[in-house]
Symmetry: C2
Subunit: 99 residues, 2 copies
């Protein structure tokens, strides 16, 4: 009973931390502006989320598996856009901000 | 033995997804430019990571507790900066880039 309750908390947590990437993916898809977004963050996050997925499979925790499987798609998508739109020819000029 | 191995994977995963926020926090701290970053993402992420922490306490998973405790500080910091630097008077003018 207590473990079932914990799984509900886990599923809510997973739904939130996965859904969290949706507005960011949508914003980046729409604006193609990635100047304020860290490339290193999305490299580390993609690798880390993939490992969380493996961990979830090992400990057989449904919430960890589902949340990180879905997150991997969104974070991977952000990484791809950050690389694609971060190229000098594709990026908006930011020199006046990033001294 | 297998569970100990799983905890190592979990700790590596947690180290990566937590450390992932460091270059983003550093970049935002330095540039104060948040125009490309989604506010909704950091609201949902802060709440979601807090719930992952509660979940980790329930299922007594060390990796989940440590990783999400540390993430909460960094994600909360990003949320605070996104709000502070996202105010019209504080933000760099971005109108010429967003469409």
């Amino acid at each position: 009973m207590e473990l079932v309750f914990a799984e509900y908390i886990g599923l809510t947590a997973g739904a939130l931390t996965t859904a969290a990437y949706l507005p960011q993916v949508w914003r980046t898809w729409r604006t193609k502006a990635v100047g304020d977004i860290s490339l290193a963050m999305y490299w580390a996050m993609t690798l880390g989320v993939a490992l969380w997925l493996v961990y979830g499979i090992f400990i057989k925790a449904a919430a960890v598996i589902v949340a990180n499987g879905a997150s991997l798609l969104l974070v991977g998508g952000m990484l791809r856009m950050r690389i694609k739109y971060g190229r000098p020819q594709a990026a908006p000029k930011r020199d006046q901000y990033l001294h």
